[in-house]
Symmetry: C2
Subunit: 388 residues, 2 copies
């Protein structure tokens, strides 16, 4: 695997910090939102003498509570349809390992979450991109374009909804279109819904689990990382009504023994997080997004769509090559002894040459910091030698 364009930047970011510069990290998906108190308190009140293995599919008490949680948000599943995983990451890997053989293909709209590439390498499968475009806010590409990519090796489609890196929230109509081709070709639909709780402007999330007629085809990947701002506990879930998938995935789960035990304690307690927490988080991210979209679109030559979900956006910049721009920001530029780190979008495309004038921005900073960061970015674009 080649190092991603984001990771290649890390040494330059460290160098900038060594020079005493303040670096605003617009490149990462680590929220600054506090973890709910119910989770932290469950950990502090730990009442165990031995930190034992859990069941390979996760603690039964947690799975039972998770099933009730999903039922409460309109996803009707039972405990046997849930496997607790080591983060959403492991759920993606288990889904691909379970449903595909080496050499098989999955189609996904690009730009897409770059770590899917790593799991594809591990599973020995190939990710086939279908390009979505900034001018359409990264909406689902026309369904015939997806269908044109289907070959005998195609075993599924991966969507991330709301989307990382674009922030796009797929509509019910788009999901029904995907449902139709999934059904017609009898392929899997892997739906990564790690950002389900981050939908703005009153938009409703429509889960792939609620698509009718494809219940044996749908595999849901979920995570507590963003929902409760507890990325570090490494707890996710693999969910499917297809019992063969669950039973095959369990064998991979058994080989790695169990998901993290302390993380399961935090995650189980997190289900009792009061609704007010989510209202506050939603209000905060909506304000950050609104501020950011407005501020970015005021910079000459910059275009930022207004994403309806997650906490990312792909922004078009008037630059020759965003990889070089991102590196230049860290290596050469400073404004009031500050600079910014952005994620070059090339890492989210697999079509060569795509995303060269785009970066991903995560709005996980407080508005005051976002203001400074975007002002700095604007000043940088005035003087960047590779400006288009």
């Amino acid at each position: 695997m080649p190092a991603s364009p984001i990771r290649k930047l890390v040494p330059f970011s460290e160098e900038a910090k060594r020079k005493g510069r303040k670096v605003y990290h617009l490149n990462i998906g680590q929220p600054d939102i506090p973890t709910p108190d119910v989770a932290l308190n469950a950990i502090r009140n730990l009442d165990l003498k031995v930190l034992e293995y859990s069941h390979s599919a996760g603690n039964e008490s947690y799975r039972r509570k998770l099933a009730a949680y999903y039922q409460g948000i309109g996803i009707d599943i039972d405990i046997s349809e849930i496997m607790v995983t080591t983060g959403g990451s492991e759920a993606v890997l288990f889904a691909l390992m379970t449903c595909l053989n080496p050499g098989d293909e999955v189609i996904t709209p690009e730009p897409f979450y770059a770590n899917y590439n790593g799991f594809a390498v591990t599973a020995g499968i190939r990710i086939v991109p279908v390009t979505s475009y900034i001018q359409n806010d990264f909406a689902l590409p026309p369904i015939r374009e997806i269908e044109n990519l289907i070959t005998p090796k195609t075993k599924g489609i991966i969507i991330c909804n709301p989307n990382n890196p674009t922030g796009y929230l797929y509509s019910r109509e788009e999901l029904l279109q995907i449902r139709d081709i999934v059904k017609k070709h009898d392929i899997y639909l892997f739906s990564d819904e790690a950002y389900r709780d981050f939908c703005y402007d009153g938009a409703k999330h429509f889960s792939a689990m609620n698509l009718e007629g494809v219940s044996a085809n749908v595999v849901l990947v979920d995570s507590v990382s963003k929902r409760y701002s507890e990325c570090g506990v490494r707890i996710g879930a693999l969910i499917s009504r297809n019992r063969e998938i669950m039973s095959a995935a369990l064998k991979f789960a058994q080989a790695r023994l169990s998901p993290p035990g302390l993380g399961q304690i935090a995650s189980e307690a997190s289900i009792d997080t009061p609704q007010e927490y989510f209202h506050n988080v939603n209000r905060e991210y909506t304000a950050r997004r609104d501020f950011m979209v407005d501020a970015l679109n005021k910079i000459p030559g910059v275009y930022c769509p207004k994403p309806k979900g997650a906490f990312y956006t792909i922004v078009r910049l008037p630059v020759d090559d965003s990889d070089q721009f991102a590196r230049w920001l860290l290596e050469e530029f400073e404004y009031k002894n500050q600079t910014v780190m952005v994620a070059p979008a090339s890492g989210f495309y697999s079509t060569p040459g795509s995303g060269k004038d785009e970066v991903r921005i995560a709005y996980v900073l407080k508005i005051d910091d976002l203001r400074n960061a975007i002002e700095t970015l604007g000043e940088a674009l005035k003087v960047y030698p590779g400006r288009k």
Copy 2:
């Protein structure tokens, strides 16, 4: 992957419990030893507001302390040679994924830890067994037998030392023999030392990291699971002086973002466990082993070697088929309303038909329970219809 013979027994064990029978679990490696207080207290004193991702290679503070820990036990490595993993399991997987290509082979003495099979499936590689025998206490097979198995596809040798499932502790001389063929054929040596702290009768563990002349070939797999009786925290380590391996493994680590954060806090604190804890644990396991070996060898037709490490032994029983015997124990047998669950050894061999009169026993029960369990096993062997 087929379900292992142990896992196939689980429903029968549950059925036996439903019938009100006490089931002694001699089949599992979950110790009953308390986790050290320093680890539990570190968790209870959690002083974080956000449970964030850690570095993909693990928290720097933990890696720094780990390096000092290894130096303290005579393994001279620095922080750049350590990657924190999600259990020893992930370290094995990353090692195989990093060092082998699909279709490649690794040689390992059988019986071997059955989960290596699962990681081999994920990595698309083949495990080639070289049989060790109970009459030799499962010592390393003659080195020429190992060498005879080396083909152009052979990329390494895996050893587990002390061994799960046999309890065998490889001697310095055996490790030097392995070193010689590793060096001669320039292949990798994967050394799984998760049980390093469990050596009895004053026997000294000799780490593969201390083999001279093969420092670029050796990959150490370690785990805190057994050392501190904290299997559930899912923290292990991948260690190598080969910088190419560490750099390639980091890409797999980055795809899964980070190892468990709370587990790292427990593991880091565990390094301060007082020596007295280990003395007590060693004394306890030595007493259990001595009791078990003695009691088993008193049963007519049974042979149990005296293992020098870990907390397992492979025992030969006078039965036709240990898979059937293990199932019969749970389904049909009871003595004073008790029965025992043992791990049929067939699951630890990949040579078909091997281990049919052997079971693995884990001596993770208190002596009073071991006494009852072994008495029950003895009574069972008197009446088992498939007795040889």
